[in-house]
Amino acid sequence: MRGVLKIENVSKSYHLGKLEVPVLHDINLEVQEGEFTAVMGPSGSGKSTLMNLIGCLDRPTCGKIILGDRDTSLLSDIELARIRGKKLGFIFQTFNLISRLTAQKNVEMPMIYQDIPRQQRIKRARELLDMLGLGDRADHRPGELSGGQRQRVAIARALVNDPEILLADEPTGNLDSKTGREIMEIFNKLHSEGRTILMVTHDQGLAQNCGRIIRLKDGRIEDGKNS
């Protein structure tokens, strides 16, 4: 198996005025292609910060984050944006769809920034919506969709550029348990198809479902062993 993500001695601290607030300490982590990893930990443990760093939305204070074979700490803002668009797919707890755009347009959006031709965009978005059972919902706006449907649109959006890693931040956190299970089914299916998934969750049951659990506490990894 190929390593898709390697985190070496990463620390992150924020500045609150003159005060330096450390959030992550000396994180080391490797994720192999096709792994389904859960990131757990109490709030304030640095889960979201870790996801933001992996997601190239933020830069570490020190240490290296290597995605594929590229050290992201050496990349420019534009290159980071390219990586976010092509190699990463984000799925958020609150879906983060754009409310004035239809499901179809929301799914097309990441392809726009990669200059993918229009016809190809429409076709690809359509395929994914069909695959996620939303073929008849393509022209609806997020406000006209249920929570589960919205999260499926968001998953389609995350998959649209065929990313190397899916980053899901509590994807079932805003859903009832039945819908949550449906979404987890989708993740399991994606995993079985060989997707690499990193998922933040509070839910022990959902985490057990994953191949691997990483527990964060006070900005440190407690154990990274396979369970």
Binding site: I78, R84, R100, P110, Y113, Q114
Partner: protein, 403 residues
């Protein structure tokens, strides 16, 4: 990101926010209307004044004694030049000169059957006055040998006295300064001339006679021409010819004051002033536009604030700073273009309506419309720079966290 895709995003955002889009563009629309209307007023003014000056003799150089009141030469006192036939010959021999007509004038009283009127009597050299000869309506033209003949304008003939005057009638002209009085015969009446110029008096109120007659009335030892009208061969070379006339006269009047005056240069001066007025009016309109621009900055800032989360999502799914900048700049630029087009259309409409309502001069020129449009687009584009940069620089983590 391709431009066409950015345009699609912008048009989607306009459509989802029609009311806000309209309100924010209103300031720009009003500003552009103001510019177009103001410039049309200016153009109308220019055109109106231009019409008033039309038919004015642009190929005429006027030479008169004394300094003009403008220019540095007027500031030092010099004896006024006295022009005589030597000067007329000198000018006639200048390259580029077509005709030379020396004239003199004086205020006189005319008496006809117990009625007395003040007039200005113009003495001419008939053989050099094709213009006057050509416009005789009744009777005959003046001749160089005439000593007590006059040719009168149509207003004097028809309206000055109770009885209309006809060729062959006699009247007497008196110089009030020395009480010298002479009898004159009306030999010709000029045809009615259209009022061509805004100044220069009523051209139908003139009385022409010969220099000898005026000299008799003035009864003075010296007699000189009070102005010499010079027409040129070519209007384009009038400046050069004017300089040559000046040089020829300078040789004869070394330390004396005289003025060589061209209507053309004066008109050019007036035209310059009018152009300034026009752009000053346009500037007033531009102030309205600037206010509109401030409104756009406001609305765009509001839009950025509203869409913070959306900007975060855009960045998360791969939008670069440049992409976001492009979208927001396009949004304000497009707003400017559409508002500008609406403003130009309404502005032109208002100008048409106002000019059709009355005498108010309005002229709609393509340049005015273009200026309105360009300034409209420019203002909104500039107004969009700061909000677009702010949006592009948002920290994606912070932006995603926003509610």
């Amino acid at each position: 990101m391709k431009l066409i895709d950015a345009l699609e995003q912008v048009s989607l955002s306009f459509r989802s926010n029609k009311f806000k889009t309209l309100m924010s563009s209103l300031g720009i629309i009003i500003g552009v209307i103001a510019i177009v209307v103001m410039l049309s007023v200016g153009e109308g003014l220019q055109e109106g004044v231009g019409k008033a000056f039309q038919g004015l003799d642009l190929d005429v150089i006027t030479v008169f004694p004394g300094g003009a009141n403008f220019g540095p030469r007027g500031s030092v006192y010099m004896k006024p030049a006295e022009f005589d036939d030597k000067d007329v010959h000198a000018i006639e021999n200048t390259v580029g000169v077509k005709t030379v007509s020396p004239r003199s004038g004086a205020g006189m009283s005319v008496m006809f059957r117990d009625e007395e009127r003040s007039v200005s009597l113009t003495a001419v050299m008939p053989s050099k006055e094709q213009d006057i000869s050509g416009s005789i309506d009744r009777g005959r033209i003046l001749m160089d040998s005439d000593r007590s003949a006059i040719v009168i304008g149509s207003d004097i003939a028809n309206n000055m006295f109770k009885l209309p005057l006809n060729p062959g009638m006699r009247l007497s002209i008196k110089n009030k300064n020395n009480d010298v009085s002479r009898d004159f015969t009306i030999v010709g009446i000029l045809g009615e001339k259209k009022q061509t110029s805004a100044f220069g008096g009523n051209s139908n109120m003139e009385i022409f006679t010969t220099h000898q007659s005026l000299k008799d009335l003035l009864d003075s030892k010296t007699y000189s021409y009070s102005q010499i009208l010079v027409t040129v061969e070519s209007q384009d070379d009038i400046e050069t010819t004017s300089t040559k006339v000046d040089e020829a006269l300078r040789r004869l009047h070394k330390d004396e004051a005289y003025t060589v005056f061209m209507m053309k240069s004066m008109l050019e001066g007036i035209a310059q002033v009018l152009t300034m007025i026009k752009y000053a009016l346009g500037g007033i309109g531009a102030i309205a536009l600037v206010v509109g621009g401030v409104g756009i900055v406001n609305v765009m800032m509001l839009t950025v604030t509203e869409r913070v989360k959306e900007i975060g999502v855009m960045k998360a799914v791969g939008a670069t700073k440049q992409d976001i900048q492009l979208i927001f700049m396009l949004e304000s630029g497009l707003l400017g273009l559409v508002s500008g087009l609406i403003g130009v259309t309404i502005g032109a409409g208002i100008a048409v309506i106002i000019s059709s309502l009355g005498d108010f001069p309005m002229a709609i020129k393509w340049t005015s419309l273009a200026i309105g449009l360009v300034f409209g687009v420019l203002t909104t584009t500039i107004a969009g720079v700061y909000p677009a940069n702010k949006a592009a620089r948002l920290d994606p983590v912070e932006a995603l966290r926003a509610e």
